[in-house]
């Protein structure tokens, strides 16, 4: 499908750029800060630096010459080394999701980077091309996608002609793609384009609204405080400070103008940040896969086969709850990139109602039940009764040391009391947020004190369950349930103090999973 080839020549430039970026601090130190210095060690330091850089450059070129990759009909094969030859094979079946990241560097040269992630542990878990032409990225993605789709179909339908049809269709797809590559245009075949359904495209209004949920304008408060203390430090004489404050208050309009200007600046910054990060956010899907892409300057896109979605999480922070927004996240078994590139979250600022319908839209095999069961009242009492070891320990320490806070002698029991109230409140809030339901082969659990998380998964995707009952829970006739899903790191989800009969039916529900599981 793709013959044995070397990486894109520009990947050498990319590695060089990275090398320079990483040694930036050293360069700054050796050649800028100590420019005039003629000391002995600096001289040798510079020589060592030149040697290091030359070795780096040689190894970049050497690596480029000695590593190759190919993609056949089943797997990627990655060859590297001359003396120590390694050959790595990544079968398409193991690819969980595909990530594409286009930085400014890539846009400059009209290329992109692509990463295929597997669920395997360790270093060799991913196949990454740091620089690849757009058309080749498209082709690689299609090869993997075609294989994944074919694989899924082959399992679903046992009739042989289906498989051969799928293979034919896939081969056709590749055939169609070839002339496209020579044209150097990156358009998908027209048929494919029609199939893609756009579920969401962020509008200006959405992002504008979203930029407020991050509360970035609150940055103003520390700025004001530090400004005030700066003024105070500047005029240590209290009379001056007071008179200054008085003149400030006298000319209140100056003060309010300043605050207004600061407010506008911080809001504007927040909006710009949100626009750069989430601008152009788009969620599309076709019959088999979900595609998410985002970013104005640096573009990141992510695609996953629908069957590879392990669980769905809907998270609501207090601010988002206030605005009726929610974050929808897809849990996948492949590793996610560095935090800033994370694109597994569908969209952090979806209106709640739209979030539920969208899950059903893009994942037709998922059903979201809106009505869920509440915890029995008795678990509230249990939660309030449960000793909080953290509180006991902190109170013990406070009692022993009796620290003075803000010159308060009685601070220790006040802190302890505040902590107790806080713990109790969060337990009560968690009680009211907790909802659960088992519906056919779905489980939905919602938990969380301040930020609530709704977790939806299918029982065939849950890899392990656990039911625990401590002494108090046994008295009250309740239990805790715990599910484990594949992800990196493994996703644990717990719901505490649900009624015993529900825990039992949870166990039976899970043991019935063999009905839905497809084996090969």
């Amino acid at each position: 499908m793709i013959d044995m080839k070397r990486h894109h020549p520009l990947s050498m430039l990319w590695s060089l750029w990275k090398l320079l970026k990483n040694s930036f601090a050293i360069i700054l130190f050796l050649f800028v800060f100590r420019q005039g210095s003629e000391s002995q060690w600096l001289y040798y330091g510079r020589i060592a630096f030149y040697a290091g850089i030359s070795i780096g450059i040689v190894s970049i070129i050497w690596k480029w010459f000695t590593s190759r990759y190919t993609a056949d009909d089943k797997a990627f094969h990655i060859y590297s080394g001359v003396f120590n030859r390694t050959r790595r094979t990544i079968p398409y079946t193991k690819v969980q999701n595909v990530n594409r990241h286009t930085t400014l560097f890539h846009r400059l040269f009209n290329v992109t980077s692509i990463r295929f992630e597997t669920g395997i542990k360790g270093e060799d878990a991913t196949f990454q091309l740091h620089v690849v032409s757009l058309s080749e990225a498209e082709q690689l993605e299609k090869i993997v996608a075609g294989y994944m789709a074919k694989d899924a179909e082959a399992v679903e339908a046992t009739e042989e002609h289906d498989i051969s049809d799928a293979v034919k269709a896939m081969e056709e797809g590749v055939e169609q793609l070839r002339p496209v590559i020579t044209d150097e245009a990156m358009s998908l075949p027209a048929k494919e384009k029609q199939e893609r359904v756009v579920h969401y495209h962020s509008t200006r209004k959405d992002i504008f609204k979203a930029s407020f949920t991050s509360l970035s304008f609150l940055v103003l408060i520390p700025v004001l405080i530090s400004l005030y203390s700066w003024v105070k430090d500047f005029f240590p004489d209290e009379e001056v400070t007071e008179s200054l404050l008085l003149t400030w208050l006298d000319s209140w309009w100056i003060a309010s103008l300043m605050i207004l200007v600061l407010l506008i600046i911080s809001i504007a910054l927040g909006i710009v940040r949100t626009f750069v990060k989430y601008g152009n956010f788009q969620i599309t899907s076709d019959a088999k896969r979900i595609y998410i892409s985002k970013g104005m300057m640096e573009q990141t896109s992510f695609s996953i086969l629908k069957e590879r979605v392990q669980a769905v999480k809907i998270t609501q922070s207090p601010m988002k709850r206030l605005l009726g927004l929610a974050e929808v996240e897809l849990t996948t078994a492949g590793s996610l990139g560095e935090s800033e590139q994370e694109v597994n979250s569908l969209y952090p600022f979806l209106p709640v109602k739209q979030a539920y319908t969208m899950i059903e839209e893009i994942l037709p095999s998922y059903q979201v039940t809106q009505e869920m069961e509440k915890l029995p009242r008795i678990s509230l009492w249990l939660r309030l009764l449960k000793p909080s070891w953290g509180w006991i320990m902190i109170t013990g320490l406070l009692w022993y040391f009796k620290p003075f806070v803000f010159g308060q002698k009685h601070a220790w029991w006040m802190i302890s009391a505040i902590l107790l109230v806080w713990i109790a409140t969060s337990r009560v809030m968690d009680f009211f947020h907790t909802r659960y339901i088992l519906h056919q082969n779905f489980i939905q659990l919602r938990t969380g004190a301040l930020t609530s998380t709704l977790f939806i998964s299918k029982r065939e995707k849950v890899i392990e369950v656990q039911i625990t009952r401590n002494v108090l829970q046994r008295w009250f006739g309740v239990a805790s349930i715990h599910t484990v899903n594949r992800a990196k790191p493994v996703l644990h989800h717990r719901a505490h103090d649900i009624p015993l009969d529900t825990a039992e039916s949870f166990q039976l529900w899970y043991m019935g999973r063999t009905q839905d599981v497809q084996t090969r």
Partner: protein, 165 residues
Amino acid sequence: MSIQWKPPEQRLSPQAVKLWRISAILMNVIGFLILAVLLILDSIYGWKTWVGWILWGVTAISVLYAVWDIFIQPSWLYKHWYYDVNEEFLQLKRGALTKVHQIIPMAKVQSVTTNQGPLMRKYGLYSVSVGTMGSSHEIPALPEEVALALRHQIASYARINEVDE
């Protein structure tokens, strides 16, 4: 077709209680020796008073813990440990105070290992640990033939592959 569910009934080797008791005694003896050395050093060199307080406090707690560790815990642990394995699931049920019931689908089992420490060898016991994608679970103290048979059984059941992987 799903197999009718029943709670796990297989038990550990009764020898386990003896084994745990002996290892607990050994550990506690070592612990108390260290404490004794520290207390002697304290009385010779006259360390700060609070050091002495802490040492005596630790000793008191250690005595209580030793009673629990040697006399109560081994028999409770044995009494409340059940496991079961069938074609579909590995079930572990344990805990006297906090009851834990784990259910692990066979298809998600990735590895089975049998281990034997020096003390265990004396009693002819093995522990079997089962690794999954998420974690690893251990069935402690099984007689040799049971442990080896179980390892075999789990390995053969775990051969089923789910489409997901």
